[in-house]
């Protein structure tokens, strides 16, 4: 809220500079977010928290200023001396639960025109445009005293009757801003004898508004139930300075002072005769009392305040108290609707005493040994391992575009179609919660490629969301990565196909993290290249996939690169962590030397190297330590439908040195075995 410093001084004799006032107000909970000088005044931008509607006005801020400087507050006086004529407007309240008090005054014979300069200036400094002397007065009092008022043209109120009642069915009204609005049934309205003339507490209707021909005014000052105003304002999508204050809570006692202040100002600015007040008050204000044990104040704050000091602080902000021995009773004023509980009083004491003066201590609670839990540590390790393989971490929004699933050609019964939709997305492209991290990574890839980056290796570890029919969606943790490298000229060549670079990274990940075996099987992911993709299977369960994008996807990405090898992987971190290694135990390093022998095998091309390796491993011998594929060759000197595979076998006996002849015997048998199993030949 914009506040004129000069105006505050109407209520408190302040000599301090605006900067000092701003500092003290900030430290008392009224944050001054900015200041600007306007002529010989300073305008402060005050951030008023939702619990303090009493500070949405000059008087409230002056009250806090006075307390912060220990100065007296000059309370506004607005006495209207009688005898007055009775006004001719009748008020009925049909919905007393939503309107606790409705008062007003008729002012007859006004001359609508411009407001005096001093008033216009103050309004404009506080960000409100001057309209005419009648409307300006209501706004002036709203800013000064915080109570919203409304001025009707009294002659446009049919039958001189004001009725406060709900909208009921099929009602609409054209508001002051010229918009015709359909009204929800529960909206509280101000009616005359025929039709609605205002939306209570939110905005007046056009039909009853004040214009240059207006002669007689009915000035309304009422109390409306905050939650009702808020609901109506929200469902109508209509906010005003009035609704902002009503929905936060106004002072039903003080509204009479505001009414009188406005009537007097109006008479001053527009002339006319003030009539007697009409005041219907079904919801009498019940004062609040709060009982607070003194001990509780210090034990919550960690302070050592004396009884008198506490009560003195409260008195400064108009909270009267009476001592009851071990405790005191506090009587919050009607404008402090936020104070109901002992802790509210304690906060007031702390706030005015100064948070800065509260001692700084270390909790007495014994400190347990802080530890990242196992899951946290394992997730850190997963990420670290992937980073070591060259992947850089990205974080994307948890949203995706409904079109993303079609882009990936996912079938109707694919699990990733069980999406969670956001009702009010910022953009249609962000209207679903992600069920896969792949689309985000594609976007990251495209973004970086378009900016000239030619080596792109990215990973993300985030949650995805599935609607499985529960109250809340299933949240699963996924790791996904994308890899692309343009064959740019480089001094140090590395020629491995991208698929195997990524597979290597995953091997390293599984090796670091996982207990037990995993295997790759041809993948049925529709967006992957049929011949260059695999599902990652662990304990019979699919935990993820790896592969190049299919030509269809590549086509859709509209790249300017010929046949790019873009490799993507995604896997379930939940499954990975469920298989996470315990702390390893040491295995003795072998004492006796090993002997290596190679086999160069020519086999049918349809047999995969993995199948041959599996067959070799079927051969049981206690002295075979390891078998590793070290050569893969197709081409010259090998028939077209065949390939050559070179395996290195390491033999070792852990208890003694093996002899050549022992190894020869085992190796010979192994060679015979594999030749028979694969129907292969030895390479010449």
């Amino acid at each position: 809220m914009r506040v004129s410093f000069d105006w505050i001084k109407d209520f408190v004799d302040l000599t301090a500079a605006p900067e000092e006032a701003a500092h003290r107000l900030t430290m008392a909970g009224l944050e001054i977010e900015g200041m600007e000088t306007a002529e010989d005044d300073t305008v402060m931008e005050v951030n008023v928290t939702p619990n303090r509607p009493d500070c949405l006005n000059i008087l409230g801020i002056a009250r806090e200023t006075a307390a912060a400087f220990g100065l007296p507050l000059k309370k506004p006086q607005a006495r209207i001396e009688g005898p007055l004529q009775k006004g001719d407007i009748r008020v009925e309240i049909d919905a007393p639960e939503l309107c606790g008090r409705y008062s007003g005054r008729v002012i007859k014979g006004v001359v609508v025109g411009e407001s005096p300069d001093w008033m216009k200036k103050r309004l404009e400094k506080c960000g409100i445009r001057a309209i005419n002397n009648v409307v300006d007065v209501t706004n002036y009092v709203l800013l000064e005293l915080g109570h919203p008022l409304h001025a009707f043209d009294a002659d446009r109120i049919s039958d001189r009757t004001i009725r406060v009642a709900k909208a009921g069915k099929d009602r609409s009204i054209t508001t002051l801003d010229g918009v015709e609005r359909k009204l929800p049934e529960d909206t509280l309205l101000i009616w005359d004898n025929r039709e609605p003339v205002a939306i209570a507490g939110i905005m007046g209707g056009q039909g009853s508004s004040v214009d240059s021909d207006t002669k007689n005014i009915f000035l309304e000052s009422a109390y409306f139930e905050p939650s009702s105003i808020r609901r109506s304002s929200k469902s109508l999508g209509l906010k005003s300075e009035s609704s902002y204050r009503f929905e936060r809570g106004t002072d039903r006692v003080f509204l009479e002072t505001a009414l009188n202040r406005a009537a007097l100002l109006m008479q001053q600015a527009a002339g006319g005769t003030i009539h007697e007040i009409v005041d219907v008050y079904p919801g009498e204000y019940v004062p609040v009392t709060v009982e607070v044990p003194y001990r509780k104040v210090n034990s919550l704050l960690g302070t050592d305040l004396g009884k008198e000091e506490m009560l003195k602080i409260l008195e400064m902000i108009e909270i009267h108290t009476s001592d009851r021995g071990d405790s005191f009773t506090a009587f919050p004023p009607a404008f402090r609707g936020d104070i109901k509980e002992p802790v509210d009083i304690i906060e007031e004491i702390a706030r005015c005493y100064g948070y800065g003066r509260v001692p700084v201590t270390v909790p007495k609670t014994p400190l347990p040994a802080g530890l990242l839990n196992r899951k946290e540590r394992n997730i850190d390790k997963v990420k670290e391992t992937v980073r070591k393989s060259g992947f850089t971490e990205v974080i994307n929004y948890s949203f995706m575009d409904p079109g993303d699933l079609d882009m990936l050609s996912l079938g109707a019964d694919d699990k990733r179609r069980r999406t969670v939709a956001v009702k009010n997305p910022l953009r249609q492209e962000d209207s679903l919660m992600r069920t896969t991290l792949v689309p985000s990574l594609i976007n990251n890839f495209l973004y970086n490629l378009a900016r000239g980056t030619r080596e792109i290796a990215l990973y993300e570890l985030s949650r995805v969301f599935f609607d499985e029919g529960g109250r809340l969606p299933d949240e699963e943790l996924r790791l996904a990565g994308i890899f692309f490298r343009e064959n740019a000229p480089s001094i140090w060549q590395e020629n491995a196909p991208s698929f195997f670079i990524v597979k290597g990274a995953l091997q390293a990940l599984f090796g670091e993290m996982m207990e037990g075996e995993y295997s790759l099987a041809p993948s049925d992911e529709v967006f992957l290249h049929k011949g260059k993709s695999a599902d990652i299977i662990c304990k019979g369960r699919k935990m993820g996939f790896i592969g190049e994008f299919s030509p269809n996807i590549i086509e859709r990405l509209n790249l300017k690169i010929k046949r790019p090898e873009i490799v993507i992987f995604e896997l379930s971190v939940d499954i990975l962590l469920s298989l996470a290694k315990e702390r390893p135990t040491y295995t003795q390093i072998p004492k006796y030397p090993s002997i290596e022998r190679d086999i160069a095998l020519v086999v049918d091309d349809r047999i995969t190297s993995g199948e041959v390796l599996d067959l070799l491993r079927e051969y049981v011998s206690p002295v075979i330590e390891s078998i590793e594929l070290f050569d893969y060759y197709k081409g010259k000197n090998i028939p077209q439908d065949k390939k050559s595979l070179g395996f290195r076998i390491v033999y070792r006996n852990k208890d003694r040195t093996l002899t050549d002849s022992e190894v020869e015997a085992v190796h010979g048998a192994l060679v015979d075995f594999i030749l028979k199993k694969t129907a292969g030949t030895l390479r010449q």
Binding site: G29, G370, V394, F399
Partner: protein
């Protein structure tokens, strides 16, 4: 005897000119080999008197030893030269670039998140988590934010349905933890949160770290102590800290924590909007109503809670001026940290 001296001289002349091991071997065998010049000289011995024989023979042996010694020395010297030459031939261009080692970087948000976690873990806080798609009850109501409460305006909410939202803060984790664990409690809950808001200084998703400590006799001054300790570990020991009153429905008293602007040392600059202070944390004593709703006895326990935005912390630490950079994921940005 003169012929022997001239032989020695001839040897010295020849060896001085030798530059390679092969020629050296040739010289050696030409002088001292079986049919070498010196061996030939021994044949002359038979014609000499015993007296002469002895002195002649002695001289021949001396010369032979001399030649052999000289050859050995020369051989060592030549080998040394040869090694030198080989090294010179093997010389590489040391200014060529090294083979790049591929290693990825951690996203700056997560780097700072790890720093924050480490500090609280070292103070004995455990780590908890909760769902990102959350019930309205946990996100608002159990935190003393009933429907139609104006404070709900402080957070623009993404809705999944009337009673399911994308959590707008990590505070619901507080409630979930209190429902399941007994005090004393010391936890932080880091995670993603969502607000229906996007401009230069806001993104629809960002990260928060929530903290909660509950026990008997926890005070507001303890809250100040813990958060000052955190800020001094994170921003440096000299960083000024101030607590000023604020409002959150789930804490009371509530506070905002400011640090002296780290860019202008509190003198006032663009980043701190000339105030000299930067807001970094929201906190307060747990509102007794939140205890009640979570099933704790408000008369028995007190506690404090706090929350901070990780993006904000990261921006301050790395002098990043645009929050949107975090979610563009430009490698030229990510590789800087």
């Amino acid at each position: 005897m003169d012929d022997l001296q001239s032989l020695k001289k001839a040897f010295l002349d020849e060896i001085a000119a030798v530059t390679d091991l092969a020629s050296l071997q040739q010289i050696k065998s030409r002088f001292t080999g079986k049919k070498g010049l010196l061996t030939e000289k021994l044949k002359a011995l038979s014609a000499l008197s015993p007296e002469e024989k002895r002195s002649y023979g002695k001289l021949v042996n001396e010369i032979k030893e001399f030649i052999e010694r000289t050859v050995r020395e020369k051989e060592l010297a030549l080998k040394e030269i040869e090694k030198e030459n080989r090294l010179l031939n093997e010389k590489i261009d040391i200014t060529l670039p090294g083979k790049p080692v591929l290693f990825g970087k951690k996203h700056p948000i997560n780097q700072i998140l790890s720093e924050i976690k480490d500090i609280f873990v070292s103070m004995g806080f455990g780590i908890e988590e909760g769902p990102e798609v959350e019930l309205d009850y946990y996100n608002f109501e159990a935190l003393n934010l009933p429907k139609d409460h104006p404070a709900r305006d402080m957070q623009d909410t993404f809705y999944i349905s009337d009673d399911v939202v994308l959590r707008t803060h990590t505070s619901p984790v507080q409630v979930r933890v209190m429902e399941n664990k007994k005090p004393p409690l010391k936890i932080i809950a880091p995670g993603k949160v969502y607000r229906c808001d996007s401009d230069v200084s806001h993104t629809a998703m960002f990260h928060q770290v929530e903290g909660l400590m509950v026990d008997t006799g926890v005070t507001f001054s303890d809250l100040k102590g813990v958060l000052e300790l955190f800020i001094h570990s994170f921003f440096g020991k000299q960083t000024p800290v101030r607590f000023r009153p604020s409002y959150f429905p789930f804490t009371e008293p509530s506070a905002e924590v400011d640090i002296g602007c780290i860019f202008c040392s509190g003198k006032g600059c663009r980043v701190c909007k000339t105030t000299g202070w930067l807001e970094v944390l929201g906190c307060g004593m747990v509102n007794p109503r939140v205890f009640e709703m979570s099933g704790y006895q408000p008369d028995e326990y007190t506690g404090f809670a706090f929350g901070m935005g990780v993006e904000r912390m990261t921006m301050l630490k790395y002098s990043i001026d645009d929050i949107r950079l975090f979610y563009e994921n430009d490698l030229r940005f990510l590789k800087q940290f």
